[in-house]
């Protein structure tokens, strides 16, 4: 792996490698000395074009535990907000010999652009781009789910897949990079993914995703999911005619106390409730659900550091000449010129 841009192009092998490595990183987090020398002398730049203290701190802790030097570049309030282009910013970081750039950007595809442009040599880690993907969030969710799944089965986490697991993702899938990254990663790891949300907040084209789509949350819960992931409802969606009112949204698609009790009634004792945070308590999730023993919210935050350590380690260690040691099992993408007429391509 040279970059971590999306989970869609992450092979099962690389995904498992990331999760297994994260298990070892998690063990380091339980030691007295929570530091490893693996990335000593390497520079990781956190390039944040969007405020996200939680994600930035998590990446910063991960890089520091691996002994990397960390430079935080908050693009808000810097020359970027004065119109400096992504290209110029990238070249500045290149001149500073950044080994990895962790980028959070409001534009979908900005990390991919950075990685493919040739403006910079560094490894690029997508820390959330627009409404596209948030691969490390999905990895920490998968890590959390895997530990849960392995614990139920009485197996060690390392090496375990999510085969047999049923994960329900609920809410604004249309605008959610967390949902996209999870759909690809969880299905790659063998889980069955269900989506539930208002039809206005499910993308046109969702029919081609490897998921079952429900417009009714209770119908989806009747499928007896092993995990329910509630997505954050962004404030800017609330007044854009995607649904009539937050009250109606909460009633139809919120994980409220009634649905929490329903899990008990249905005997779904091992079903966990997830949320990527920050939560809108009382809107997409009730306080009782968020604070219940089923909630993995805090475990998700904790696991974020381990997963990000794994990502930084796997991207930055290893011979840079030894390009992609697992490129063989990348999913094959359609040749975009394949639509050329008969005779050019089969």
């Amino acid at each position: 792996m040279k970059h971590l841009l999306s989970t869609q192009d992450l092979s099962a092998r690389n995904a498992l490698r990331l999760l297994d490595t994260a298990e070892e990183m998690a063990a380091v987090g339980e030691r007295e000395i929570k530091k490893l020398p693996a990335l000593r002398g390497r520079t990781v730049v956190n390039l944040f074009f969007e405020d996200s203290t939680r994600t930035r701190i998590s990446f910063e802790a991960a890089a520091k535990r691996l002994s990397a030097d960390v430079i935080n570049f908050a693009a808000k309030g810097s020359s970027v907000s004065k119109g400096e282009s992504l290209k110029d910013t990238a070249q500045t970081l290149e001149a500073m010999s950044a080994d990895a750039v962790v980028i959070r950007h409001p534009a979908s595809g900005a990390p991919a652009r950075l990685a493919a442009s040739g403006w910079i040599d560094a490894a690029v880690v997508n820390a959330g781009d627009g409404t596209h993907e948030h691969p490390t969030q999905a990895l920490l969710d998968a890590f959390t789910l895997r530990r849960h799944w392995a614990r139920i089965a009485g197996n060690p986490s390392a090496g375990t897949t999510l085969v047999g697991m049923k994960v329900l993702i609920v809410g604004d899938v249309l605008h959610s990079r967390v949902a996209r990254s999870n759909v690809w990663l969880l299905t790659t790891l063998g889980a069955e993914v269900l989506l539930a949300g208002p039809p206005t907040l499910l993308p046109v084209g969702v029919g081609s995703w490897p998921c079952t789509v429900f417009y009714n949350l209770d119908d989806a819960l009747a499928q007896r999911p092993d995990a329910v992931m509630m997505l954050r409802l962004q404030a800017e969606r609330m007044n854009a005619a995607f649904f009539p009112s937050t009250r109606e949204y909460s009633r139809r698609w919120g994980f409220d106390d009634g649905r929490l009790a329903l899990l008990d009634t249905m005997g779904l004792d091992d079903t966990v409730i997830m949320h990527p945070g920050p939560m809108n308590r009382g809107l997409e999730i009730s306080s009782a659900a968020a604070d219940s023993p089923r909630s993995t919210v805090l475990a998700q935050v904790r696991n974020g550091v381990s997963v990000r350590m794994a990502a930084l380690y796997l991207l930055l260690s290893g011979d840079p000449q030894d390009d992609d040691d697992h490129s063989d099992d990348r999913p094959h993408q359609d040749d975009p010129f394949a639509t050329t007429p008969e005779g050019r391509t089969p």
């Binding site: 869609q8 282009s85 992504l86 290209k87 950007h105 409001p106 534009a107 979908s108 595809g109 900005a110 991919a112 652009r113 493919a116 442009s117 781009d129 627009g130 409404t131 596209h132 993907e133 605008h175 990079r177 996209r180 993308p203 046109v204 084209g205 969702v206 081609s208 995703w209 993408q333 359609d334 975009p336 010129f337 394949a338 639509t339 050329t340 007429p341 008969e342 005779g343």
Partner: protein, 464 residues
């Protein structure tokens, strides 16, 4: 009234004997170009040629009427860093065009007689191709008030095509009035069909790929609903309508239906919509960002079929050069548009001729004859016959070349065909009997005389 440029300009004194060329891909013959017209053909050509006639060996080459583009962005005035009339018309000549229509979204907008005359004059001064300005439909492309359509029609530029291209004339009342009004001077409204509310913030075709990429979708219905409305309006007021850059299979169906009902509608497709699909957007490379967006493979095939069966009448390049900084950035911030003048012939040959959907006569129909008729250019898109104006090109259909935007004449480097191997090269372009391109390279412009009246008009234009 269309300007008779052949009398505005000095005639090239040289004679050109084109030997062994295949007009429209037919039987090989000789053509003699003299005095701005095709003076002789067949055995008469060689025997009628003067001793000092320039001989062009054209074995294996196809002669076609010079291509006519109804849809070119020349950027001048206002964005001379992106393109000028001079660079754009050089690119056009190299691409096999003898006439191009300069879209109105310059700065200032071509919404007055002064601006269209300025562009027209710049075209005359360049002399590589015939440059016909398109007039804006509404003042400043703002979609609020009609521009002075009559003044532009009666100016020296004799504007016949009006368009707010880049922006849809979405107000139905304004669109109706525009369609009605231009009937007075045989004009046509070229509509950029895009329902604005349905495409707020739109970045790419809405479908499976946009769902994955998390880019705001530009749904096909936003184009189709406007076309449906406009053909009904055109029918109601008995006007002619031209639909720019049709991009969806659904639009094709609506236009086919409208034509079957006898509605006077013509439609255009770009070369890029005949070849490229939204799968390319997966790279997030803004060179593939264009409006209307690249669609799906089903749309591409529907567009090809429609161009073949006449539902879509013409190919228009929508040549849209941008300075590199407008493409070297994030997708969402990048400008929309692609260059097209120097690749149009090859892409159409590749997608339509080599697939058997069109023969060379069909190619001439969609790239020259019909666009000239829509733009009311009397001396373009003419038959390759004795006595006709010598606006013609010589094409090597067997050539193969790899697209390299850095070597193009346009200032724009934003070609989506970069790196692609394509068939067909323009070997020569004759513009009013003068070779602007020879041996595949720019030769000399057709030195015309800029009419004194046009020079006078300059001050007048800027005093408005």
């Amino acid at each position: 009234m269309s300007p008779d440029t052949t009398t505005d300009r000095a005639v090239d004194p040289a004679q050109y004997l084109i030997r062994g060329v295949s007009p429209l891909g037919g039987e090989a013959t000789d053509l003699l170009v003299r005095g701005g017209v095709i003076a002789a053909s067949g055995p008469d050509a060689a025997s009628g040629a003067a001793a000092d006639a320039v001989t062009i060996e054209a074995d294996g080459l196809v002669a076609l009427p010079g291509m006519v583009d109804l849809h070119t962005h020349l950027r001048e005035p206002g964005r001379e860093d992106a393109e000028t009339v001079e660079t754009g018309s050089r690119a056009a000549a190299l691409g096999g065009f003898t006439a191009i229509h300069a879209m109105a979204n310059s700065s200032p907008v071509a919404d007055t007689a002064g601006v269209v005359e300025q562009v027209y004059r710049l075209g005359l001064a360049s002399g590589w191709v015939e440059v016909r300005p398109v007039g804006a439909v509404t003042v400043g492309l703002a979609g609020e008030r009609l521009a002075e359509l009559g003044a532009m029609a009666e100016s020296r530029a004799s504007v016949r095509v009006f368009s707010d291209d880049g922006i849809c004339v979405h107000d139905p009342v304004l669109m109706r009035r525009a369609l009605e009004y231009v009937k007075a001077f045989d004009g046509v409204i070229a509509q950029h069909a895009q329902e604005p509310r349905l495409t707020e913030g739109a970045q790419m075709n809405e479908g499976e790929v946009s769902a994955v990429l998390g880019l705001t979708g530009w749904p096909a219905v936003a184009e189709e609903s406007i076309i449906a409305r406009d053909v009904l309006l055109a029918q109601h007021v008995g006007s002619r309508l031209h639909v720019c850059h049709v991009s969806t299979a659904g639009s094709v169906e609506i236009i086919r239906w409208a034509k079957a009902r006898g509605i006077d509608v013509t439609a255009e497709v770009t070369p890029h919509h005949l070849l490229l699909t939204d799968e390319l957007v997966r790279s997030y490379d803004p060179v593939y960002k264009v409006n209307p967006p690249l669609r799906t493979s089903d749309d591409v095939h529907a567009l090809r079929a429609a161009l073949a069966d006449g539902t879509i009448d013409v190919v228009g390049t929508d040549h849209a050069p941008h300075p590199s900084e407008h493409k070297e950035c994030e997708w969402a911030q990048a400008a929309m548009g692609m260059t097209g003048l120097e690749t149009a012939l090859s892409v159409v040959q590749h997608t339509m001729v080599e697939t058997g959907l069109l023969d060379w006569a069909g190619f001439a129909r969609v790239t020259s004859v019909t666009p000239a008729r829509i733009g009311r250019l009397d001396h373009q898109g003419r038959p390759l016959a004795v006595g006709e104006p010598a606006n013609l090109i010589l094409v090597d259909p067997a050539a193969r070349w790899t697209v390299d935007p850095t070597t193009m004449a346009t200032k724009g480097r934003n070609s989506p065909f970069r790196g692609l191997e394509l068939p067909g090269r323009v070997r020569a372009t004759f513009f009013e009997g003068h070779p602007t391109v020879l041996d595949g390279h720019l030769s000399t412009p057709r030195r015309g005389q800029v009419p004194a009246t046009a020079v006078d008009g300059e001050d007048a234009a800027w005093n408005i």
